[in-house]
Amino acid sequence: MAILLRFFRRFLAYRTSLLLGLLCIPLAQLCDVGITLLVGDALDRAQDASDTEWMTRVLLLMGAYAVGHSVMRFYQRWLIVVVSRRVEVDLKTELFGKLVSLPFAYHDRSRSGDVVSRVTSDVEAVRMVLGPGLMYTLGALVILPISIGYLFTINATLALMMTLPMFTMGLTMKLLSGRLHRQSVAVQESISAISHRAQENFGGIRVVKGYAREDSQADQFEGTSAINRDNQVLLGNARGVTNAAIYGSFDLTFAVILLIGGLAAVDRTLPIGDLFKFIDLTIKVFWPLIAIGWILGMLPRAVASAERVEELLNEENPIAEGHEKIARADVRGALAFEDVSFTYERGTEPALSGVTVRVEAGETLGVVGPTGAGKSTLINLVGRLFEADSGRIHLDGHEVRELAFDALRGTVGYVPQDSFLFSETYEENIRFGADHEMTDAEVDALIERVAMKDEVACFPEGKKTLVGERGVTLSGGQRQRTCIARALARDPRILLLDDCLSAVDTETEKELVGSLRSAGEGRTVIVAAHRLSTVQAADRILVLTRSGEVEAIGSHDELLEREGWYRDTWEQQQRTESLSAAVNDEVGGAA
């Protein structure tokens, strides 16, 4: 609960709106209660109705209360809920800022779905309880004592007795909330099972049809859907019980009023108008009461959510920026790894183990090795996406830890393995790389440089076309080239290519290696690759073993001379790949 108070402090940033909104709650409720009292009194003084002046006064007063109630109720909701949304915006802004600043190691170990749900559903759960939740609770806390208190002055026994069913209702709801929660979790799970099955079937439809498994797949799906149906029915039953309990206690309150109030009325100790007040106030108290039950049910979830949000807000960033500043123009781009080791948090075996290698300024280093040999890791260490566990990495003789990000990351161009692009316009994706505002001519020059000019011209809106689902879908090769253009946009001293050609076919690779070579001219390049032909032309090639140790360093020709992983793999890759590549060359040449 203390944690919710800490979050509530954020609401105080908007205290004027909040206080005004909170003030509206009792005012609105008082007007509402006032109307009931007015009608009740009017019933008892019905004989005075011939007195038109009195009747007019009653009606005018009722009108005033009604308008007051409505206006207050509008402001209460408008002010408080908008404040809660503002706090949501603040929280999300802060969380997002935190997320983009956290080191890659954090993102690597946390599932992205989990992070997203902290920013979305957890924030929402906290907002609901502290915004609308507070509003409803306060509303109930105001109207309940006022009404019961007032009724107490009329007939104490009845007022006391009628609260009994209300308590029972609160208790039943509390008892049932566990079952409701369990059932709705089960329903959610069975729904995602359905979507999982469907996704898998549609994605693997070639295999399904190829093995004539349509019927058995449909049967399986029907089974999954039936589980969902059964869970839904159970949830419905649980809701049914809750529903019955709520309305049952509501009706029971009326029964109490009918019995005790009726007896008092027969005795002439309770006038009809007062009986009416009991009835009408019960109706008015009932819904706020249910709302309280609803909020109490949400509280545990909100506390858990608040903890998750706070955990993210307090997440520490172990990769601090260094203080050493070098002017970007002075960076030459010589890199040196000295006895560098690194183990992933979730890994048991080191990804890199005692790697020492130097890359002179302007030199190209290829990094190869079996899957899991730490090729990408080596590249990620340069920009300090990860921090080496031991050993040192130097840029132009400065240790990277000591360097300001401006000097370190500011001079690095990076092409990621998955050729990640934003769903923005094609042009924006390239401009993303530049630290300055690029001119159109500069953008065009880059597009031409990575041989995308003709293709971009064919996009529906040229370089202003959105990339991704809502725009053009780029092929693997096009994405790669765009990533390269983006990296070149910052005119980097060091170009890092993280196994970026393994996803494209051999033909596309050929094209790309050409544009890469021209891109790398005059720059230090580290290129990790799965396919050896990618690094064939590198000045030197670093061969890593499966456990992240250096097996060999040398040029392509040197490495072929000696027995080992490189030569074996080269020969085998040639066998499997060269034929189709050659056919393509031949046909392409003939065309």
């Binding site: 309305y247 996406l385 034929l579 189709s580 046909v587």
Partner: protein
């Protein structure tokens, strides 16, 4: 067009698709009739729901009647009486009746929620299963043209919104209308003046409710769309966090995010405003009615035209009247989105497969266990009109022989596989099995005789065993064990935690390409197929795995009619005929030796490759 452009202008990526916001119609009789056909098998449940709702409604009305009876009977009667005892007795009778009624209604309220829900779920489950079953019958072209996500939506979100239609939409709407009418009728029975006042103001309430629902729906959709965009951007940035950090674009993406956030907030403000307005306006209108009722009621009470009991009953009935009207807008929205979903669902159900099974399917002539003869006869094909992918392809696969196809990407190799499996039908020419057109065969029986190994073979969630058996009755434990051995996958399987029972992660992510291929071969071998379709993976694997794949492949092909899209030299050399394809045509054909002797394209390629391999 120009309008769409201008909308996208600043920060186009954050813009939401306006077409998502367009509302559809609320009522569609033909759609509704069609939905009813799915409701018919569950008519008992529907009848039960109606019975429960009716009884509950009658109970509510009786409740108000008891109040009237109690007040006008014992309470009013005792006014001037000396002996209160008989009145107390009478009151206790009323209370007894009330408690009995409450007990019955509490039970009914349980069934109200439970039965209605059960009814809706029963119907949508049937519909969901039917949609999925229908999807299974559709041809591959249908799946190739649509994103998987959109199809998943058909059997998830769309079905769910239909279930709401059954649980809180149509039945409730129907009943609410009946309620409003009956309650109005009751009001007239109590007091004509009061009822007239109420009836005149009811349209105002309905008007407010309906006017609000339109605005609320639009506002809600906008909020949803903005939120989806916001979360989408967050997800995107998290996916590209490396790029963001290395390029030091933290502030740029934060600015974008905040922009999306601001738009989301604005949309929220509009929704809050509407909701903040709706309830007060609604209650103001109700107070208006109440004030009028008070004014008229007091007058009547004085004039002895109305009793206190009747006034209380009137007041309670008024509450019964307001609630369905307040919820009218919500029901209306449920109905509308349900119809939109129904339309999309029926669109799928109405899609007929273009690859149609024959009216009187023929059986494959060769008996199971014997390899059939396969022929492509002058086959042409195009996925999109006017872009031919295959141009007059003819070749034969004699029983038990292997035909290897080599060629560059886009030469049409995979299309041969698509046609042989009848994923698609040829535009002209025919594919024949034992001289019977594929289109005349019973597709599933024919496919069941295939062993299929695709490039990126698909592994399903479940155990390794389930993935290898694939629910085929002809696969026995013995044949599976044999297949695993033959596919050189024994070590692989034994090395898994739990062996065959080991769970496959999402899409087999834990297996390397080479391992997936061995498993796919085992899967194909398990049912001892007569025909093999093999699309060899191009991805590089280590030499040990390579060696195993080679051995597994030769076991797979031995004695079976096989079409292979080949990348491995060993496979190509072992083929009985090699087709060199380029641009949808066969450029050369023959055995490895023949082609080498012919000194054509293949020979040139082979020389090139041999040189490369020994460089």
């Amino acid at each position: 067009m120009s309008e769409a452009k201008s909308e996208k202008e600043p920060g186009g990526a954050l813009e939401i698709d306006r077409s998502e916001l367009v509302a559809t119609k609320v009522w569609d009789t033909s759609l509704f009739k069609r939905l009813l056909t799915y409701a018919r098998p569950h008519r008992r449940l529907f009848l039960k729901s109606f019975a429960v709702l009716s009884l509950l409604f009658i109970g509510e009305l009786l409740g108000t009647r008891i109040w009237k009876g109690a007040i006008d009977g014992p309470v009013a009667g005792a006014a001037d009486a000396e002996d209160k005892a008989p009145f107390v007795q009478a009151l206790l009778w009323w209370v007894g009746a009330y408690v009995a009624l409450i007990a019955a209604m509490t039970v009914l309220r349980y069934f109200q929620t439970a039965t209605l829900n059960k009814t809706g779920q029963a119907v949508v489950h049937d519909l969901r299963a039917a949609v999925f079953r229908h999807l299974q019958s559709l041809d591959l072209g249908f799946f190739d043209r649509r994103p998987t996500g959109a199809l998943v939506t058909r059997v998830t979100t769309d079905i769910e919104s239909l279930s709401e239609m059954f649980t809180s939409g149509i039945i409730a709407l129907l009943f609410d209308s009946v309620k409003v009418l009956v309650v109005l009728g009751m009001l007239f029975a109590i007091d004509v003046d009061l009822a007239l006042i109420t009836m005149l103001t009811t349209p105002i309430l309905i008007g407010i409710s309906l006017a609000f629902r339109g605005g609320a729906r639009r506002a809600h959709r906008e909020v949803r769309a903005r939120l989806a965009r916001l979360n989408g951007y967050l997800q995107e940035v998290l996916g590209g966090i490396r790029v963001v950090q290395v390029f030091r674009r933290e502030e740029r993406v934060a600015a974008r995010f905040n922009e999306a956030l601001a738009r989301y907030f604005e949309a929220n403000r509009r929704t809050i405003f509407l909701f903040a307005l709706f309830y007060p306006v609604m209650s103001l209108a109700v107070y208006l009615i109440q004030g009028a009722a008070l004014w008229a009621g007091i007058g009547s009470i004085v004039g002895k035209g109305l009793t206190y009991g009747e006034f209380v009953q009137f007041w309670l009935l008024l509450n019964m009247l307001v609630r369905p009207i307040r919820e009218l807008g919500e029901r209306y929205n449920v109905l509308q989105s349900a119809f939109a979903s129904a339309e999309r669902i029926f669109q799928v159900l109405d899609t007929a497969p273009t690859v149609v099974p024959p009216a009187t399917p023929a059986a494959v002539r060769t008996a199971p266990g014997q390899a059939p003869h396969i022929a492509f006869e002058d086959v042409c094909f195009s996925y999109v009109a006017d872009t031919p992918v295959l141009r007059g392809i003819s070749f034969e696969i004699p029983p038990g022989k292997t035909v290897a196809v080599v060629g560059a990407t886009g030469a049409g190799k995979s299309t041969l596989v698509n046609l042989l499996l009848r994923y698609y039908d040829a535009s002209s020419g025919r594919v024949a099995v034992d001289d019977v057109d594929l289109r005349e065969l019973e597709t599933s029986a024919f496919r069941a005789r295939f062993g299929l190994v695709l490039q990126e073979d698909f592994l399903f969630a479940g155990s390794v065993e389930e993935n290898l058996v694939m629910d085929r009755s002809e696969v026995s434990a013995a044949s599976l064990a044999e297949a695993i051995d033959a596919a050189q996958a024994r070590d692989l399987v034994n090395g898994l935690e739990g062996g065959l029972a080991a769970e496959v992660a999402e899409r087999g992510a834990t297996f390397s390409t080479g391992e997936r291929q061995l498993l796919a071969i085992a899967r194909a071998l398990a049912a001892e197929p007569d025909v093999v379709v093999l699309d060899e993976a191009t991805a590089a694997v280590d030499s040990a795995t390579e060696h195993r794949i080679e051995r597994a492949t030769s076991r797979l092909l031995a004695g079976r009619s096989a079409l292979v899209i080949a990348h491995r030299l060993s496979t190509i050399r072992g083929a009985d005929e090699i087709l060199v394809m380029a641009r949808g045509e066969i450029r050369e054909r023959g055995t490895h030796d023949e082609l080498l002797a012919a000194e054509g394209l293949y020979a040139k390629l082979h020389a090139l490759q041999y040189a490369a391999a020994s460089a």
